[in-house]
């Protein structure tokens, strides 16, 4: 649908890699930027500059926030663990928006891919879930501020299993009386990348600031 779309993908790990492959498969021109963690935080600006140098002004920017390595109860966390789980992903998202702003093409879209625990919270991932909800608010605020310039945003909320470490028991993080309506949690390549493609398409241009839930039918609120 969006053949040749210039896409800047910020993030690493299995989900980001699957999205990268899925977008390539759908004809996107993709530059993947891996955030660099430093003692002072996360540096995305340098990588974003390099990525834009490779593909030109992006029409689609996708950010997959960095995820904590494992589940830890809040009261057992060190301050450093808290920062890595909560404050760093929020700062990373904010840095992505700011670093991209000057280079976005007309009618570009920014999309964040977060787990549905953003909306419902999660034991063991209290900080990261909170960060993800903060990022959803960033998507809304960015949509409101930059909408008059023709820029749009969205959030894709996906099954926790696609985002959080496999050993965390992520599938149990969204309390539900039933499993996914579609019987599976989805995969980045075949289920989520096509939605990014859809969001990049001009036909979706009147949708901004919103969250699309793509978890196979677990989270159905409101």
């Amino acid at each position: 649908m969006a053949d040749g779309t210039r896409t800047l993908l910020v993030g690493d790990g299995p989900l980001a890699d699957g999205l990268h492959d899925g977008l390539l498969d759908r004809g996107h021109l993709v530059a993947q930027v891996v955030p660099v963690r430093t003692d002072d935080g996360t540096d995305v600006g340098t990588g974003i500059g390099t990525g834009i140098g490779l593909i030109g002004r992006p029409e689609l920017v996708v950010h997959v926030p960095t995820v904590p390595a494992r589940a830890v109860a809040l009261i057992d966390q060190s301050t450093q663990q808290w920062v890595e789980a909560c404050e760093a992903p929020m700062a990373e998202a904010f840095a992505v928006v700011r670093a991209c702003r000057a280079y976005l093409s007309d009618r570009a879209r920014l999309v964040w891919v977060v787990p549905t625990v953003a909306m419902g919270g999660a034991a063991g991932f209290v900080g990261f879930a909170a960060a993800a909800e903060g990022i959803r608010a960033l998507a809304k605020s960015t949509a409101r501020q930059w909408g008059p310039d023709g820029l749009t945003t969205a959030v894709l909320a996906v099954a926790p299993e696609l985002v959080l470490p496999a050993e965390s028991g992520a599938g149990a993080l969204v309390p539900t009386l039933a499993g996914p309506a579609l019987g599976r949690s989805g995969d980045a390549f075949g289920d989520i990348a096509p939605l990014l493609d859809l969001l990049a398409d001009p036909s979706a241009r009147f949708m901004t600031g919103t969250t699309l839930v793509a978890d196979g039918g677990v989270w159905m609120a409101p």
Binding site: W82, R98, V126, A130, I135, A137, K140
Partner: protein, 246 residues
């Protein structure tokens, strides 16, 4: 026994006063005792059990000391209200947000909640108590003018849900209040954003801005009380119906 951060004025003092009026012993944790001490003295003169402790919520040590002072005074902690927040400042473009503003917003909200939760948890577990966090409609609908404020308030809301999930087994409840009320901070916001009050009133079915003591205070009392014993992880919007998106 209740601890209220940012308790010297505005929403914090309104909630603290309402709780004191319902018989709670209250500690006002505030960065500026020169404001908090007189506020506590007024409440004591009215017959309430209220004291003030100095607490800069950007300091984990200060938060821990405030919790311990509260427990030392009355032997328990039934409710911690984290209300303090750095000044939000005026309308800000995302690309113009300063590092200082970001740091202050994060430090006084989500980091202070983290530090406060760790300090309060053993005492709230002992009492079967609760924690109340302050959020905002801005966190649910985004904000054109205060993007960082919207982010941290959104984070606070999901933080409450996650803590509710982790602490339920300890019989600790965690809830949020999303208020709109006339406070000194709100007056400053009106000055920096002249049409804010009118815009708020236009979208508020009850046609007025709330009062910290009479409108928000009772909701804090309710959430802290046994009447709300089966409510956790929730957000109560106390804004005259201004935000109907939940």
């Amino acid at each position: 026994m209740v601890l209220v951060t940012g308790g010297a004025s505005g929403l914090g003092l309104g909630m603290a006063t309402a709780m004191a009026a319902h018989g709670a012993a209250v500690v006002l944790a505030c960065r500026r005792p020169e404001i908090g001490e007189p506020a506590a003295a007024v409440l004591r003169e009215a017959g309430h059990d209220v004291r003030c402790v100095r607490c800069d919520v950007t300091s984990a040590d200060d938060i821990g000391a405030s919790v311990e002072a509260t427990v030392a005074a009355h032997g328990r902690l039934d409710c911690m209200v984290h209300n303090a927040i750095a000044p939000t400042g005026g309308p800000t473009r995302i690309q113009d947000v300063s590092q200082d503003h970001w740091d202050a917003m994060v430090a006084t909200t989500i980091r202070a909640t983290f530090d406060g939760a760790r300090a309060a948890h053993p005492h709230l577990r002992d009492s079967g108590g609760s924690m109340i966090l302050m959020t905002s409609a801005a966190g649910m609908e985004g904000s054109t003018q205060l993007p960082v404020y919207a982010m941290v308030k959104a984070a606070q809301r999901t933080l409450a849900k996650g803590l509710a999930a982790e602490w339920g087994a300890d019989s600790i409840r965690v809830n949020c209040i999303a208020p709109v009320a006339d406070t000194a901070a709100m007056q400053r916001a009106y000055m920096e954003n002249p049409d804010l009050r009118e815009r708020l009133l236009e979208r508020t079915p009850l046609g007025r801005i709330g009062n910290p003591l009479d409108d928000v205070g009772p909701v804090a009392v309710f959430l802290a009380s046994d009447m709300a014993r089966f409510i956790t992880g929730q957000t109560l919007c106390v804004d005259g119906g201004g935000f109907l998106g939940l």
